[in-house]
Subunit: 331 residues, 2 copies
């Protein structure tokens, strides 16, 4: 295990030449499941930390930045999400956020590795693993790519959240076109899918490739990101897809429910929209594999009443009014 001199250092398979380290107070669990190495430690300044195959998945200090964004962006893109599928997410954080939505009636969570859930229930019971007992939840331990391809999974879900680890190891099948095709079949018309989408600073080529897979399966595709200190390079992206053509995903269609809103530390409707505004280097790469091709605009003040557009509308109104008046008065 990569703990040395009291510090955990993240393995750098997918991010060579750089490493993030956290100071360890106490190792709480070390083991291996059928799928991966599992490590839990109490850090000096980031609370309890869950590590899978040497890669940080959750720290209690910053997990909300990821859990809220991967959950509430797709949930607020749907007018009335009732049936939700979570793929992966064994730590329970996405489940916690989905359960905040009172309109949700049924949640299926398909996590391949039961050990991750067990370890989370034991060591993250005060942070991420708080909603496993919600009566709306069905927990399934299966390979999601096989699970969603079953006949009884057709046209079920309003929102699908794929909270996977990186595409090396058990999550590899979750970044393929085959998986996206199966997912689409499992989704209702107008349903939204959000998949962990790697980091634009590290894996822009991979992001483009996976977006192309999405693009060939879903009629609407976009890309957003969140900042999170303990993920490589301090941020992670989201692949956003919809089964509806022309759907704009970068704007919520609902404002958060007051109870949801009160619980949020990261997500807001403004943050939702800003998350799709990419730096030029990433925007250039993503622009060609995104649809619809909507421009990014951000404003912080109400548009002026007498904008060029409004003057035009006013003039149009004046012309209509004058014409109607002219017709009526000439009678």
């Amino acid at each position: 295990m990569p703990i040395k001199d009291g510090w955990f250092t993240e393995a750098e398979v997918m991010w060579p030449g750089q490493a993030m380290s956290l100071k360890v107070e106490e190792v709480l669990y070390e083991g291996r499941s059928d799928f991966q190495d599992v490590l839990v430690f109490r850090s000096a300044t980031y609370g309890t930390v869950l590590v899978l195959d040497g890669v940080i998945q959750v720290t209690e200090r910053d997990e909300h930045a990821y859990q809220e964004m991967i959950t509430h962006i797709p949930m607020h893109c749907h007018a009335d999400p009732q049936n939700v599928l979570i793929v992966g997410g064994g730590d329970g954080g996405v489940l916690r956020e989905v359960c905040r939505h009172p309109g949700v009636q049924k949640i299926t969570m398909c996590e391949i590795d039961p050990l991750v859930c067990d370890v989370a229930k034991q060591y993250l019971s005060a942070s991420t693993a708080v909603a496993f007992n919600d009566p709306r939840v069905t927990l399934v331990h299966a390979d999601a790519a096989e699970y969603v391809a079953k006949d009884d999974q057709r046209a079920l879900y309003d929102v699908v959240i794929v909270d996977s680890s990186d595409p090396v190891g058990p999550a590899e099948s979750l970044f393929t076109e085959t998986f996206y095709k199966a997912l689409r079949v499992a989704m209702r018309p107008g349903a939204i899918m959000c998949n962990q989408g790697e980091c634009m600073w590290l894996h822009l080529d991979l992001i483009r490739e996976v977006l192309k897979h999405c693009h060939s399966v879903f009629p609407s595709v976009d890309y957003a990101f969140t900042t999170i200190p303990t993920y490589p390079s301090g941020q992670i992206g989201f692949l956003m897809c919809s089964t509806s053509p022309g759907q704009v995903l970068r704007q919520p269609v609902r404002t958060p429910d007051p109870a949801v809103s009160a619980s949020l530390k990261y997500y807001s409707p403004a943050v939702h929209a800003a998350a799709f505004v990419l730096p030029v280097f990433a925007e250039t790469a993503v622009a060609t594999v995104r649809r619809p091709q909507v421009p990014s605009l951000c404003s912080s003040v109400a548009p002026p009443l007498l904008s060029r557009r409004n003057v035009g509308v006013l003039a149009l109104g004046a012309a209509i009014g004058a014409s109607v008046a002219a017709v009526l008065l000439r009678r």
Copy 2:
């Protein structure tokens, strides 16, 4: 020097319990000036790296995320910046970005430490240190807090960019109310100031305190951020101030010049506006020490032509048109 087993690890004075490491190919320079330790190394995957007092200042791979945002946000908040002051910025990166603006006529750079400029000219001559010979530049090696307080500095500058290191060590005086008061005197009416503003994930209390200093000196104050993998927690903020009351800083007043635009890897007008949209936890902290109190809105599509507001404007136009027609036709 903190290089061990071929890896440089960033000292964690201001961010206890976490550390960023970069793999070292070759140490290019190691020395000490009157002010600080200076280290330059060629990294395995981030190009040449400049380190001051153990803290990463520049890596060639991601420096544009910082240099572009700290420069082009304030530069595009001013309609016609002609006279620019750079405080710090010895690596030359901010200078490079300011020099891209053809309207700028005079640039004063006040960097306390000549060694940083010398080392940058020698080792970063292909990246940040490319504009020291621009004829518009005057390089001054002085304490900026003393320099801007001089009588001949009154009402000179349109834009001031404070590209300092952290407020421990030589840059400590650059985060005080005294310094901001002196800066304000050196700024023209309508001038903009942008100061490196630490990281919201690490130093929210410090940010609030320094924003209060700004708030007591400048009539308009706001806070933005950029993502940058090699700064602690993967991002850094900017304190934005204006000598004009009620000035909205979160929108550019100009679009980038075509030549500037072609050179940009990070900044765009949409990125400018999105940089001010903060996660809820930071928004809550900053909201009370910001003015004017403008809401954050982001939209990615043009507002619908027949919004409630436009219907009102159309009706108003119709009424005006009808009235005018009625008067004219009754004559």
